[in-house]
């Protein structure tokens, strides 16, 4: 119980993100962009419905990536300013510190992507009254929300693995390629185990076309389970590296 409290105390620091007004302004901008897709009916020759869904999924993914990389700045800053060493001087393990950061940023990410999802549902329903939100569309967004967990784990890993100046960039590159390397699907053991496979959360095209029954709730649960398992691996590796690191 004490361990959980310690982790949640660290996680609370990561939730600072949710107290920043700029985050909500950005969410509003995202929703305006989603809504603007409705005006592309002529330019897309009537494909604006699929376009709106796709834009919402794309922006939600970008929001999730931005939230995840924010933790690299936070951990780096705390290590540089000595906040981390102050925290770690208390009866708190380094693993707990990293898990706390992971949990905190994951929850913040899920809240932010969840707000975008809710906003999208409202806008889509208002724009296309006859269509309604399909299960596949909803699952597409929920998969993105679930992808926040492994992305945050990668961000935590690279914030302790590489120098502060490049940790955010490396995290973005790794997340980007983890989404876009279907060619590596053939490497069954490595890919999805050691190398991250965030493409498992990418069913945007199916969601955009709202192909009925294409994504099941079981797929979402299993993808979430993979995300948690991969996060355990990444956090263990991060903790191992962090354990040997000298702090100020």
């Amino acid at each position: 119980m004490r361990t959980i409290n310690e982790i949640m105390a660290i996680a609370g620091g990561a939730w600072q993100l949710l107290r920043m007004r700029v985050v909500y302004v950005l969410i509003l901008c995202v929703l305006v962009l989603i809504g603007s897709a409705y005006r592309y009916d002529v330019l897309s020759l009537g494909q604006h419905k699929a376009l709106m869904v796709d834009v919402s999924l794309m922006l939600n993914t970008l929001a999730a990536i931005l939230v995840a990389i924010s933790v690299t700045f936070e951990i780096s800053r705390e290590l540089r300013e000595g906040v981390a060493s102050t925290l770690l001087s208390k009866p708190l393990g380094r693993t707990h510190y990293l898990i706390g950061k992971l949990v905190g940023i994951s929850i913040a990410g899920i809240v932010i992507t969840g707000l975008i999802t809710i906003g999208f549902c409202i806008i889509f329903n208002a724009a296309f009254e006859d269509a309604g939100i399909g299960q596949t569309m909803l699952l597409g967004h929920l998969l993105i929300m679930a992808s926040v967990i492994p992305m945050s784990a990668l961000a935590v890993l690279f914030s302790v693995l590489v120098p502060e100046s490049i940790s955010a960039i490396v995290t973005v590159i790794v997340i980007w390629f983890a989404h876009s390397t279907p060619a590596l699907d053939k490497i069954k053991i490595l890919y999805g185990g050691i190398l991250p496979d965030l493409n498992l959360f990418n069913l945007k095209a199916e969601a955009a076309y709202n192909v009925a029954g294409s994504i099941s709730w079981m797929y979402l649960v299993l993808a979430l389970a993979w995300g948690i398992i991969y996060s355990v691996f990444a956090t263990s590796l991060a903790s191992l590296v962090f354990g040997y690191r000298d702090l100020k």
Partner: protein, 323 residues
């Protein structure tokens, strides 16, 4: 410290094994969900292939709006743009329809290629327009020099379109039959009879279809098969029309007459048709109402020449065998 190292490594190994196993399973699930996943562009687009396709599609529309006339160069550009769009989103149905049709005149081979890719896309199996357009382009615009197999491909495409459209589009069946007729004409022979023209070939085609369906006397094909061309509801009427057209096209041609004899013997043995124009005539008629040719009178009373309506002659009460 050592204990911590062992714990960390153990956790990592378990996570890798579980993660890779689960990822493999999810990849299989994904392949079932998204059948075109392997065909997607390998460019590192961060999973935003669909969005890239949306942007490319809008740029394509912008480009197409500025094109006055589609010549060979424009067709090449349109084809390349369509390839880029479809590499990122093979399910964009409108791209096949609009893009393929845009280049059908300037480069029918590439147009047919676009349409056939769309027709063979399992995610677009509800669309009959794409295979119909593919068949149309192959039949009308592509030449035998460009593709010697074009008619066979066109027939396959029309058959696909007909199976998807059901009864809602009878002109697809007509197009399919005409393409089959062209193939017979291309071969030059039907049941060892030389085929002389399109009308003759269409007659041969319809007769083949009638036989495949085990043609019944009520004009409706009784054997409903999976081949839509074999489920032609009005095949007997079509067959009669084709026979009339074939005869009209070359009345003295012995090959056409040989075919007609074969067809009429089987199909219309119970029907009374004018020997000259193949128009059906009624009981008691002495001359064809269409061409004026003399016809064999039937169903009349041998005594008073009145038309027999039942068992007895209604005019004289005669019960003798009627003509």
């Amino acid at each position: 410290m050592k204990k911590s190292l062992v714990v960390h490594i153990t956790v990592m190994v378990i996570a890798v094994v579980l993660g890779s196993g689960l990822a493999s399973y999810l990849m299989m699930q994904q392949s079932e969900i998204s059948v075109n996943r392997d065909k997607l562009s390998k460019a590192p687009l961060g999973g935003f292939n669909k969005f890239a396709s949306d942007v490319q599609w809008m740029l394509f529309i912008n480009y197409a709006g500025g094109v006055d006339c589609v010549e060979k160069a424009e067709a090449e550009e349109i084809y390349n743009r369509l390839n880029d769009i479809l590499a990122n989103d093979p399910d964009l149905e409108i791209a096949y329809n609009i893009g393929g049709m845009m280049i059908s005149n300037a480069d029918p081979v590439k147009s047919a290629d676009i349409f056939m890719r769309g027709a063979n896309n399992p995610n677009l199996k509800s669309s009959w327009q794409i295979p119909f357009s593919a068949g149309f382009v192959l039949d009308r615009y592509v030449t035998d020099q460009q593709d010697p197999e074009r008619l066979k491909k066109a027939e396959d495409m029309f058959r696909l379109a007909a199976s998807r459209a059901g009864d809602s589009a009878p002109y697809i069946t007509s197009a399919l039959l005409k393409t089959r007729a062209k193939r017979i004409l291309q071969r030059g022979k039907w049941n060892s009879i030389p085929v002389v023209n399109e009308e003759h070939a269409l007659l041969c085609t319809l007769f083949d279809e009638w036989r495949k369906g085990g043609g019944s006397e009520d004009g409706v094909n009784p054997q409903q098969t999976t081949d839509p061309a074999n489920n032609i509801p009005d095949i007997k009427a079509r067959l009669l029309k084709a026979a009339q057209d074939a005869k009209a096209s070359d009345p003295a041609n012995k090959n056409i007459l040989a075919t007609l004899a074969k067809v009429m013997k089987v199909v219309s043995e119970d029907q009374h048709l004018c020997g000259n124009c193949l128009t059906p005539y009624s009981a008691g008629d002495k001359f064809c109402s269409q061409c004026g040719a003399k016809v064999a009178v039937y169903s009349v009373c041998p005594k008073c020449n009145a038309v027999i309506k039942g068992k007895f002659c209604s005019q004289c009460g005669n019960t003798d065998k009627v003509k």
